[in-house]
Amino acid sequence: MGSNASIMLQQDDLQNICQQTGFAVKQVQRLYSRFKTLDKRDCGYLTRENLLCIPEVNINPLGERLIDVIMEDYGENNQINFKQFIFLLAKFRRAKFKSSITEYNTRDSKLRFLFDMYDRNHDMKIDRNELLEVLKMMVGGNIHDDQIATIADHTINELDTDGDKSITFEEFCKTLERIDADDKMSMKFLS
C-alpha cells in the first residue's frame, strides 16, 4: 500500500512539501498512504465523515470540535486535500533542533491551534460562551449548566487580565508559559 501511494504522489510535490514542512520524504509518503486509507471513496480529499470514521476520534469528546477546526481553518468546503492535510500535521512535527523549526511548527502556531479550538468565531477572543461550549464537551456527563458556568467564569477570571470577560490570545499564551506546550503539542511521525 505504501509503495502504491508514493507512486501517486508527484515527485515535485513531494520535494516541495518536504522543503516547506520539514518532513522527511518517508514521513510524507507514510502520511500519504494514511491519507489514502482514510479517503475511502478515493476522491482526493477527506470529508468530515471520513475523519469521524476513526473510532478514537469518534469517541473523543473533542473529536468533532477538532474536525470543525480542521475543516474550517485548514480545508475548504468541508473538505481537506492532501496538501492541506500535511500542512496541518506539520504544525505538530517535533522540532529536534532549532534549525528544523519551520514556519509551521513554531510554538506560536501550536498555541494558535489550541486557541482556535476555543475561538470559533475568529475574533481573537475566547468569550464565555465559547469556553462554555468547550467545557461542556470536555467535562461531559450530566453536570448542571450552572456548575459548568461557574467553572467557565472561574477560568476566565484566572486568565483575564484586562477585565473584558474574555481571553485574548496574549492572555492565553501567558498562562501557558509554564506548560511546555511545545513538547506536548508535538508528536513523532513514523517514517
Binding site: L62, L66, H154, M187
Partner: protein, 889 residues
C-alpha cells in the same frame, strides 16, 4: 543550636547507659535476695527492653531530623542523608568505645531492613508516583532499569574479577562468582538514596522520574542477579550447567512480572474493599496500608520482587482508592505514609552510620578503589549508551546534561549494604571485604555525589521542577492538548503515546472504574477536570478564609461592588453550608467559585468584604457560639471586638431577619469598623444570603436581582440616617432600653426613614435587648405582616429607587419565614437565649408602636393596619411566649 542537639543526644545515650546498668544491677540484687519480698515498685527493663530500644532509636532519629532542620545553614549545604549517616557514625563510635551494647544490637539487620524499614519508603514512593511522567517515560525507565543494570553488573563483575589477576588487591584472590555477586548488589541504584537526594534538589519531573523509576524497577534485576549468582556460588563454579543460566534468565521474568502481578492484585483487592467501607471510614487508611504490606510480604514469601509489588500496589491503589475513601481518610493515608517513610529513611541512614563502626571490616584499598572506579565509569558509560538508545524513540530527547545528571544521580545505598550483610561467609569467603567496599561506595556516592549534585544541578542550569499552584486554565488546556494530540495521532496514523494513553484511559473508565469505585463515573465525564476545579476552589477558599480572619472592612469601601457575583454565587444554593460543600465528594456536585473574589484585581476591599460575608454565610453553623456572643456582647463588645464582629456577622447572616436594620445594628458590634463599609457588607452578605435562598423562595430571589445601582443610590441616601441611628443605638446599647429614649428615637427616625423600616427594626430591637420569644410563636407572629407587606415592597421597587431599602429589607425578612427558610438557624433557635428579660419585649412593642402611627404615609394604610394588628398580637403573645419558653427550658 549545636550544643542543644548534642546535649539531646548525650542525654539519650546516657539514658540508655543508665537503663542498661541499672537493669543489670537489679537482676543481680534479685538473685542475691534471700526470701522474696513483695515489691512496692518494680523495675523491669527486660520486659520492655526490645521495644524500648526500638522506640528510643525512632525517637533519636526524629529528634535528629528535627534538630537538623532547626539549623537552616546545615541542611542547605548537606543533604539530610549525609547528616544522618554522620550522626550514626558518632553514636556508633560512642557505643563502640564504651562497649555498651553488643554490636549485634545496633548493626543493621537485613531482616529488619527488608521487612520493616524498606516497605514504607517504597510504598510511599509508589503511592505518590507521578503517574503521567512515569508512564510517559516508561520505555526509557525500563531500558535503563533492566538493560543498564545488567550491563553494569556484568561489566563491574568482569572488571573486578579481571583485576584479581593483578597485584592490585594485595595478593588476595577473588573468585569469579563472588565478584559477580558483589557486582549484582553494588550496581543497582538505590531508591532510598535517590529519593532522599532528589527530593531536595527539585529537578524537573522527567529527569527525576527517569532516575527514580530506574532505581525502583531495577530491583527485580538486581534481586534476580544477586540470587542467581549467590546460588551459583553455592552450587560451585564447576557444577554449573547452561541450564542454570537459562533458568536464571527465566526467573527474571518470574520475579519481575510476578512482583508486578501480585502488587496489582493486592491493589485491586484493596480498592474493592474500600468500596464497602463507607460505614467504617476510620479503618480506611489501615486497610490501604495493610494490603500494601501484605503485597510486599506475599511477594517476599514467594521470592519475587517485593519492591515491584509494593510499588505497583501503591500506584494502583492511588488511582481508585482516593475516589472511594473519605476526604479525611485520604489525608490520613497520605500523612501516615509520609510519616512512616520519612522516619524509616532516617533510621536507615542512621543505621548505615552505626553499622559502619564494627569489627566486620577488612579494608582492601585496591579492591575498594577499583570498585569505586568501576561503579562510576560504568554508570556513565551505561547511561551514555542507553540514553542515546532511548532517544531514538523518545519524543523529548534526553540532553547531554540530562545524561550527566542521570549518571551522577546513580547513588548506591542501604539496599546494597543490607544485601552485602546477608552474604554467606562460608560460600563467599571475602564477605568482609565486600561489606567494606559496599560501605565505601555507599558513603562515596551519598556524601560526595549527594552533596555536590545540588550545586551541579544549579551550575548546569538543569530545568527545575516548577512548583506552582494548579490553575484551572492550565489543567483545561492540558486536557485539551491531550485530546487534540490523541485525535491527531489517530488521524495521522502514527500511534504514539497519546493514543496509547487514551486507550488505557478508556479501558480504565469502562471496566476498572466500574468495578472498583463506589460510584461509577458517568459516560465521558472528565472527573479529573472537576477534581482540579474543586481542589483549586478549596485552596482559594482556605486562603481567603485564612486571610480574612482578622479582616476589618475599611471605611473607603463605600460603594457596593457591582459585578456578576450573583451569578457566581448561585451554585452555592445546592449546599446548605460550607461543610456540606466540603464533604461533597461527588463530581456532579460542584462548589461555588470562590476564586472569583480573588481575581478581582486591586479592589480588594470590596472583594474581601464580599468574600468575608460569603464565607460567613456559608461557613459557620456555630449556633451556641453565636448565641453566646450575642448574649455577652453588651458586656464585652469593646474588649473582644474583632472576634465578636466575626461571629456576630455570621450570626446576622444566618438570620436574615437581622439584616434590614443594618443601620441600627452596625455600631452595636461594629463600632471599630468603618460604618459605611460595614453597611456594604451587610448588603452584599444579604445578597449572597438571598441568592442561597433562591430555591426556596422565588420571590426573594427576584429581589436579590435588584440592580445594584439602586442599592448604591440607596446607600448614599442612607448615610446621614445611618449616623444618627448609630449614635442613638449606641446610647441605647450602653444603657439598657429606657422608655424615655424611645420617643426621641421615633421622632428622629420618622424624619429620615422610610416607612417600612420601623416594623423591622422592632424585631431587631427585640432581639438586641434579649427578648424572650418562643420560636413557633415568633414565626407565627412575624409571618402575617411580612407576607402582606411583601407586595408593597415589590410595588415600590418599580416605582422609586429611594424606597429600595424598604424593599430589600422586606425581602430579607421574608426569607426568614420558617416555612421558607431551610437554613440551619432561625430566630427560633435563638429564642431560648433571650428569656431573661421577658418584659422588655412587651415594653418595646408598646413603645415602638407610636413610631408606626406617626410615620405612616397614606399609601400604605392597608399595610399599616395589618402591621398594627400583628404588633398587638405580639404584645399579647409576648408574655405567654416567654412563659412558655421558660417552662420549656
Amino acid at each position: 543550636m549545636y550544643k542543644n542537639k548534642h546535649s539531646i543526644f548525650l542525654i539519650l545515650i546516657l539514658g540508655l547507659i543508665f537503663h542498661k546498668y541499672y537493669c543489670k544491677e537489679q537482676t543481680y540484687i534479685h538473685n542475691q535476695a534471700k526470701p522474696p519480698r513483695f515489691h512496692v515498685a518494680e523495675f523491669n527493663f527486660d520486659h520492655v527492653s526490645d521495644v524500648y530500644a526500638i522506640t528510643l532509636w525512632i525517637l533519636l532519629g526524629s529528634l535528629a531530623k528535627v534538630g537538623f532542620h532547626l539549623s537552616h545553614r546545615l541542611t542547605e549545604k548537606f543533604p539530610e542523608s549525609c547528616l544522618l549517616i554522620i550522626l550514626g557514625l558518632i553514636v556508633g563510635g560512642l557505643l563502640y568505645i564504651t562497649h555498651l551494647a553488643e554490636q549485634k544490637a545496633y548493626v543493621l539487620n537485613s531482616d529488619t531492613f527488608f521487612l520493616f524499614l524498606l516497605p514504607p519508603i517504597i510504598l510511599e514512593a509508589g503511592y505518590f508516583m507521578p503517574n503521567r511522567p512515569f508512564f510517559d517515560n516508561l520505555g526509557t525507565i525500563l531500558l535503563l532499569a533492566i538493560v543498564n543494570t545488567l550491563f553494569n553488573t556484568i561489566c563491574i563483575g568482569l572488571t573486578l574479577w579481571g583485576f584479581s589477576f593483578t597485584p592490585l588487591y594485595g595478593g588476595t584472590q577473588f573468585g569469579m562468582l563472588p565478584c559477580f555477586v558483589f557486582a549484582a548488589l553494588i550496581s543497582a541504584v538505590d531508591p532510598v538514596a535517590v529519593l532522599a537526594t532528589f527530593t531536595e534538589i527539585h529537578v524537573n519531573d522527567m529527569l527525576y522520574i527517569v532516575v527514580f523509576g530506574e532505581s525502583l524497577l531495577n530491583d527485580a534485576v538486581s534481586v534476580v542477579l544477586y540470587r542467581m549468582f549467590d546460588s551459583f556460588a553455592k552450587i560451585g563454579q564447576e557444577n554449573l550447567i547452561p541450564l542454570d543460566l537459562i533458568l536464571g534468565f527465566l526467573s527474571f521474568f518470574v520475579v519481575s512480572l510476578g512482583g508486578v502481578l501480585i502488587g496489582i492484585i493486592f491493589g485491586v483487592v484493596a480498592c474493592f474493599t474500600t468500596k464497602f467501607t463507607e460505614h467504617t471510614p476510620v479503618l480506611e487508611p489501615l486497610i490501604i496500608l495493610v494490603y500494601a504490606y501484605l503485597a510486599y510480604l506475599t511477594s517476599e514469601m514467594v521470592s519475587v520482587s517485593g519492591i515491584l509489588a509494593i510499588t505497583f500496589c501503591g500506584m494502583v491503589m492511588k488511582q481508585y482508592v482516593s475516589f472511594n475513601i473519605s476526604k479525611k481518610s485520604d489525608a490520613t493515608t497520605e500523612y501516615v505514609l509520609k510519616m512512616l517513610s520519612s522516619i524509616m529513611e532516617t533510621i536507615i541512614f542512621m543505621f548505615m552510620g552505626l553499622s559502619t563502626v564494627s569489627d566486620h571490616h577488612s579494608w582492601n584499598t585496591g579492591f575498594v578503589l577499583i570498585t569505586l572506579l568501576a561503579c562510576l565509569v560504568f554508570r556513565v558509560i551505561g547511561i551514555a549508551i542507553f540514553a542515546n538508545l532511548a532517544n531514538c524513540w523518545r519524543l523529548l530527547e534526553l540532553t547531554r546534561i540530562d545524561m550527566l545528571i542521570m549518571s551522577y544521580g546513580g547513588l548506591r545505598g542501604a539496599i546494597a549494604f543490607a544485601l552485602a550483610l546477608i552474604l554467606d561467609e562460608t560460600k563467599i569467603p571475602r564477605k568482609k571485604e565486600f561489606v567494606t567496599a559496599t560501605i565505601a561506595v555507599v558513603f562515596f556516592t551519598v556524601f560526595l555525589q549527594g552533596i555536590t549534585i545540588g550545586p551541579l544541578v544549579k551550575c548546569l542550569n538543569v530545568r527545575r521542577k516548577q512548583i506552582e499552584e494548579p490553575t484551572m486554565s492550565a489543567k483545561l488546556t492540558n486536557r485539551m492538548m491531550d485530546h487534540v494530540m490523541t485525535c491527531l495521532e489517530e488521524i495521522s496514523g502514527s500511534g504514539g503515546s497519546n493514543s496509547l494513553r487514551d486507550k488505557c484511559r478508556n479501558l480504565d473508565r469502562n471496566y476498572f472504574k466500574r468495578w472498583l469505585l463506589r460510584e461509577t463515573p458517568q459516560e465521558k465525564m472528565d472527573i479529573k477536570l472537576l477534581q482540579t476545579f474543586k481542589k483549586i476552589n478549596m485552596q482559594s477558599a482556605m486562603k481567603v478564609h485564612d486571610t480574612s480572619k482578622g479582616l476589618v472592612p475599611t471605611p473607603s469601601s463605600t460603594t457596593i461592588h457591582t459585578s456578576p457575583s450573583g451569578a457566581n454565587l448561585r451554585p452555592s444554593s445546592t449546599f446548605a453550608n460550607f461543610s456540606q460543600l466540603l464533604a461533597a465528594n461527588l463530581p456532579e456536585q460542584t462548589v461555588p467559585d470562590l476564586m472569583f473574589f480573588e481575581s478581582q484585581g486591586t479592589e480588594h476591599y470590596h472583594d474581601d468584604a464580599q468574600m468575608h460575608h460569603f464565607l460567613d454565610t456559608n461557613l459557620y453553623r456555630a449556633r451556641p457560639r453565636a448565641t453566646i456572643h450575642v448574649r455577652s456582647k453588651d458586656e464585652m463588645a469593646d474588649t473582644n471586638n474583632e472576634t465578636n464582629n466575626r461571629f456576630e456577622k455570621s450570626y446576622h447572616h444566618r438570620n436574615h431577619i437581622y439584616i434590614p436594620p443594618r443601620l441600627d445594628k452596625e455600631q452595636l458590634h461594629g463600632r471599630k469598623t468603618g460604618r459605611s463599609s460595614s453597611g456594604t457588607n451587610r448588603l452584599t452578605g444579604a445578597k449572597a444570603a438571598s441568592s442561597t435562598q433562591a430555591d426556596h423562595d422565588s420571590r426573594s430571589s427576584k429581589h436579590s436581582l435588584i440592580p445594584s445601582y439602586k442599592r448604591e443610590s440607596f446607600k448614599s441616601t442612607n448615610s446621614p440616617k445611618q449616623r444618627q441611628q448609630q449614635q442613638k443605638s449606641k446610647s441605647r446599647s450602653k444603657s439598657p432600653p429606657l422608655s424615655s429614649d424611645q420617643p426621641i428615637k421615633s421622632l428622629s427616625e420618622t424624619k429620615d426613614i422610610d416607612q417600612p423600616i420601623p416594623p423591622v427594626s422592632i424585631v431587631i430591637e427585640n432581639e438586641d435587648d434579649t427578648v424572650k420569644m418562643d420560636g413557633a410563636t415568633a414565626a407565627e407572629r412575624i409571618c402575617p405582616w411580612r407576607r402582606s407587606s411583601l407586595p408593597d415592597g415589590e410595588k415600590l421597587t418599580s416605582t422609586s429607587s429611594i424606597d429600595d431599602p424598604s424593599n430589600t429589607s422586606h425581602t430579607f425578612s421574608n426569607t426568614n419565614d420558617p416555612n421558607l427558610h431551610s437554613g440551619p438557624l432561625t430566630s427560633a433557635n435563638f429564642s431560648g437565649a433571650y428569656n431573661k428579660s421577658a418584659e422588655y419585649m412587651g415594653e418595646f412593642a408598646t413603645i415602638t408602636k407610636p413610631e408606626e402611627y406617626v410615620s405612616r404615609p397614606h399609601v400604605r394604610d392597608l399595610f399599616n393596619n395589618q402591621f398594627r394588628t400583628s404588633d398587638e398580637k405580639q404584645e399579647n403573645n409576648s408574655e405567654t411566649a416567654s412563659n412558655e419558653s421558660v417552662t420549656r427550658l
